[in-house]
């Protein structure tokens, strides 16, 4: 039994070290330098509103907090409204965060690092079949 426990703990230690190494080396770098980014808000009817934001913030949340509303959660800030337009959760509406090419990000607004010249989209989506 002791041998099995030792093996499991060794495996855990190896995986943990590997995960910490991957996490450390693949983590996007952030900076507190001044940066200018563009955030395009796309509403349900296709109309847009473009925000050119200057910020020293490290993450996207620092750039969009002026024109968004939402709730803090254990997983970061959850955007519920942009430019005064609230997503109707009952109608399965939600704000999707895309990069400048329209590709959905895998990180939330609190975990997305920004750098000078970055572009993002905040798109009001309806339904979860995206």
């Amino acid at each position: 039994m002791k041998r099995k426990t030792g093996l499991i703990l060794c495996l855990l230690a190896v995986l943990l070290v590997a995960a910490i190494a991957i996490f450390t080396f693949t983590r996007p770098k952030t900076s507190t330098d001044s940066k200018k980014i563009t955030v395009t808000v796309i509403f349900e009817d296709g109309s847009t509103n473009v925000h050119e934001v200057e910020t020293d913030g490290e993450y996207l949340i620092d750039a969009v907090k002026e024109f968004t509303t939402g709730e803090d959660s254990a997983y970061g800030f959850f955007i519920t409204g942009v430019d005064g337009v609230e997503a109707d959760a009952a109608a399965e509406q939600w704000w999707c965060i895309n990069d400048g090419n329209g590709e959905m990000l895998m990180t939330g607004v609190s975990d997305t690092p920004i750098k000078d010249g970055d572009a993002f989209q905040l798109v009001l989506m309806t339904g979860y079949d995206y």
Binding site: M1, K2, K4, T5, I8, L9, L11, L12, L15, L16, A19, I20, I22, F23, T26, R27, S73, A74, Y75, E92, M106, T107, D111, Y128
Partner: protein
């Protein structure tokens, strides 16, 4: 030649499955405000050791209720069907083990691999790059999950095993 007798699906057995489901669901929701600290891993392991694969019924009802609460989005709900099943199968393979350190280690490994297991649909729909990006973006949460699972297992395995030892199907 001996044949394995199939256990009848009695009211008592159904009640135990319902109780397992309720305990998993309520305790999970109670801790939902703390990111990646969850009691489901511990409970699935404990129930599998004690009640065998009846735990699978509880897992699937739990997944069904979670879907009713949060919506049946395939990218999270389909993983929910298999990640706990995989854990239950692993726990069943180790069911004779009693060391809390071993169980804490297993639960830690599972917590660390949780994001990878959940990224499978992303690998399927978006190929390698999408799955890998999803996995990397959640790795920080997996590290928290690993440490939390290890601590929960280390401190709660013995007391909960003792508590469950008073309950049986017989």
């Amino acid at each position: 030649m001996t044949t394995k007798q199939k256990r009848p699906f009695t009211a008592k057995r159904a009640t135990y499955i319902a109780a397992m489901t309720a305990i998993i669901l309520v305790s999970k929701e109670a801790l939902s405000s703390i990111a990646n600290v969850e009691p489901v891993t511990l409970l699935v392991c404990l129930f599998t050791v004690h009640f065998g694969f009846d735990t699978l019924y509880a897992i699937y009802v739990f997944a069904l209720v979670e879907g009713m609460i949060y919506g049946f989005h395939p990218l999270w709900w389909i993983p929910y069907l298999y990640v706990w099943t995989i854990l239950s199968v692993i726990a069943h393979a180790f069911r004779k083990e009693t060391s809390p350190l071993l169980w804490a280690g297993l639960m830690g490994i599972y917590g660390l691999c949780f994001g990878f297991l959940c990224s499978m649909p992303y690998f399927a729909i978006g190929q390698w790059s999408m799955g890998f990006t999803y996995f990397l973006s959640g790795l920080g949460f997996d590290l928290v999950h690993c440490v939390a699972n290890f601590c929960i297992g280390l401190f709660l395995w013995i007391p909960l095993t003792r508590a469950l030892s008073h309950i049986s199907y017989e």
